[in-house]
């Protein structure tokens, strides 16, 4: 019981949370909690989510502690471990078609769209997480991608493959140009400027109906051909999306680790200081807008190809918000967070609807707000933090208590688990 009293709940909150949440999750079906109006049905899923998060935190801690001796001994091992981690993630997505049916609410098509979301979110991570520019306009670049495909199909019978090359180019250039006025704006003004971009897409697409098909949209069902060797279009597009996503992730990781990333972070943290140190702030800002735009454009074209339909009303401000939310949930200042973010935005709404058809957004909003308290650096940010915490000597007991215990025992600075 002394352990319970001196346990550092603040730093190690995931242990007791797992026990508590796990208990609730297991016991709830036996009780009548679900019958409580309005909130009853939320209890079990909430407990499940909490348990899942604590479990992943503990898994990270265990992994960190177990691998610590190995990692401390050689930096090569650390690198190997990182590559092993990537290999695991890649394998997960590579073999997805084999087990996607077993995941609830999932299908190959949905997973493909989730990966497309991830592509957009990686762009946001670079732009907002590392660059510090909040953009509510990514849906506009997504729309450029979708309409590159749609207009190309409609006007010139352009084979869809070309749109995958042209869309990121167009969207990237658009992003780069948007970056110019964005230089002048800070904070809420930048948010409005990018928001304006998102708002204007729908009316413009409707106005130029000669090219875009107007409100009816462009239907491409059955007209998008796949190479002769592939019989399953779902699978083909899944792998195409996955490979392109991998490319995007690698590119983004390289950007982040290189000089570009360092410049971005410098700009984000203190623009004036960065400028004073010779960073070409304007160029970097415009370029990162361009990159984020290009990624979103690519994802938009892929989305159009997979859904085989584009229409003006599906590219709305709400879509921009969903991208941003996904990025933040995953961890906006990480690259891998995009994976979590994409999966979250694709699958969580289905789960919330199955809990409560009348107010699913309220549940999602609640999740969002709670995340901002508990895990404001996102899931991946949190896990990275936890890993570093475990690796640098985690503390099971409160420092004051440990010292008190040591004083009582008469021995100075008893190590135990306490290394403040």
């Amino acid at each position: 019981m002394d352990f319970v009293r001196t346990f550092d709940y603040r730093k190690n909150w995931f242990f007791p949370l797992l026990i508590l949440a796990g208990l609730i999750w297991l016991v709830e079906p036996q009780t009548n909690i679900a019958d409580i109006p309005a909130v009853g049905k939320l209890v079990r899923p909430a407990a499940g989510l909490a348990a899942l998060l604590s479990l992943s935190a503990i898994a990270t801690v265990v992994a960190a502690l177990a691998l610590s001796p190995l990692l401390d001994r050689s930096p090569a091992a650390a690198r190997a471990l990182r590559w092993a981690g990537y290999a695991l993630i890649i394998a997960f997505f590579l073999f997805m078609p084999l087990y996607v049916e077993k995941i609830p609410h999932a299908s190959m098509l949905k997973m493909t769209v989730a990966i497309q979301f991830m592509i957009v979110i990686v762009g946001i991570n670079l732009l907002t997480g590392f660059g510090g520019q909040i953009s509510l306009g990514q849906s506009a670049f997504f729309a450029i991608g979708g309409y590159t495909l749609g207009i190309g199909f409609r006007q010139w019978e352009m084979p869809w493959g070309w749109s995958l090359l042209i869309a990121p180019l167009l969207a990237g250039v658009a992003g780069f140009l948007i970056g110019i006025p964005a230089l002048r704006f800070k904070g809420p003004y930048l948010a409005l400027a990018t928001l304006s971009l998102a708002v204007t897409v729908t009316p413009l697409a409707k106005k130029f109906e000669h090219y875009t098909g107007g409100v009816q949209g462009v239907s491409m069902f059955g007209k998008l051909n796949i190479p002769f060797w592939e019989t399953n279009p779902d699978r083909f597009f899944y792998y195409l999306t996955a490979v392109l996503a991998l490319l995007v992730f690698v590119l983004a990781a390289n950007i982040r680790r290189g000089r570009f990333g360092r410049a971005l972070i410098a700009i984000r943290d203190n623009e004036t200081a960065a400028a004073a140190m010779g960073v070409n702030v304007a160029l970097y800002k415009m370029t990162v807008f361009g990159i984020a735009g290009a990624f979103a454009g690519l994802a938009g074209a892929l989305n159009g190809v997979v859904i085989q339909f584009v229409s003006p009303d599906q590219y709305s401000v709400l879509l921009s918000i969903r991208f941003l939310v996904g990025a933040v949930i995953g961890g906006v200042a990480t690259i891998n967070g995009a994976i979590v973010g994409g999966l979250f935005q694709q699958f969580v709404p289905d789960v919330t609807v199955s809990i409560n058809k009348s107010a699913p957004d309220a549940i999602q909003a609640a999740i969002l707000i709670v995340f901002m308290y508990v895990m404001r650096h996102g899931v991946v940010g949190f896990l990275e933090q936890t890993w570093r915490y475990a690796r640098s000597g985690m503390r099971m007991r409160k420092p004051a208590a440990a010292q008190e215990a040591a004083a009582i025992a008469g021995r100075p600075g008893e190590a135990g688990a306490g290394r403040s």
Binding site: P188, A193, S196, T200, L324
Partner: protein, 295 residues
């Protein structure tokens, strides 16, 4: 000519609606430096609360002040409970929390009140029928809103520029640490800012409802316009919000009519292009103050 004047009146009336909510946005920004994306939905929810009172038989001039007081309290509560823990977090975190508020209140209102629009009355005492001056028709209620808007704007201006409380609010937002050192209770200043903004938002909703019609999305549509108005006028300037709103309403109304190519399809695009153009020249908005940043 008649058409032009009539359109200006319509545009100005719309502009006043945008300006009302924009004032609430400016209020929050000035006192906490936060953009509250949930402002519209909180205003909408307060309006529904007012509707419940009116539906239960309460008189207009009793229900409205009561709602404003409740909204004030709710704003305070939201700041203390939800915003304070993330006050020192990066800007993005707070943006997400306010977006969460937006989603939450929107969904909640739809659930409780259903999507069917509900009738919302004019203030008792305000004449319903239009005044006719030659061929021009003036709506008394629009004039009423205009007057309230100006009064509110002046009140806020006076509050911020001429009262000690206002000074405290501004100081707490700009320099929390220094403010604490001189004895300002920063925590309560911020909460107060939210409370007043929530009340202003509720007022905006209550006044807009007879024109826009009360349904769960009615303030969401106004929000984007209000956001644009505040940006145009300057996010830290109450007169800016009003001027921005009225300007925006008129650009949309007149541009939609007189520019063939724009028409009613692209009127919002025109407005946003104009605003962005203005911002290029004056990045802090028409009346905004350029922030000087310490390195």
């Amino acid at each position: 000519m008649t058409e032009f004047i009539q359109l200006v009146l319509a545009g100005t009336a719309n502009g006043c609606i945008y300006g009302l909510l924009a004032l609430a946005l400016v209020l929050i920004y000035r006192s906490t430096h936060i953009i509250n994306f949930g402002q519209g939905e909180m205003a909408m929810f307060s309006t529904y609360i007012c509707w419940s009172f009116l539906n239960a038989g309460m008189g207009y001039w009793v229900a409205v002040p009561l709602t404003l007081i409740l909204a004030f309290a709710a704003g305070l509560a939201v700041q203390r409970i939800l915003i304070r823990p993330v006050q020192s977090a990066p800007e993005l975190t707070i943006v997400i929390v306010t977006l969460g508020l937006y989603l939450f209140f929107n969904s909640l209102a739809l659930w409780i009140y259903s999507g069917v629009p509900k009738p919302f009355p004019l203030p008792t005492g305000v004449r319903q029928a239009s005044w006719q001056v030659g061929d021009i028709f003036i709506v008394p209620y629009h004039l009423f809103i205009f007057v309230v808007l100006i009064v509110l704007m002046l009140a806020l201006y006076v509050l911020f520029q001429r009262t000690k409380l206002g000074l405290g609010l501004r100081a707490a937002a700009a320099q929390p640490v220094s403010s604490r050192l001189v004895g300002i209770n920063v925590g309560w200043m911020l909460a107060l800012g939210w409370g007043i903004a929530a009340a202003a938002g509720a007022l905006a909703g209550i006044l807009s409802a007879p024109i826009v019609q009360l349904e769960p999305n009615f303030m969401a549509t106004v929000l984007i316009f209000s956001f644009a108005s505040a940006t145009l006028g300057g996010f830290d300037s109450p007169p800016g919000a009003v001027v921005g709103g009225i300007a925006l309403g008129n650009i949309v109304a007149l541009g939609g009519r007189y520019i063939e190519f724009i028409g009613t399809q692209l009127d919002i695009v025109l407005a946003l292009v104009v605003i962005v153009a203005v911002l290029l020249v004056r990045p802090a908005g028409l009346f905004g103050r350029q922030a000087v940043q310490r390195v």
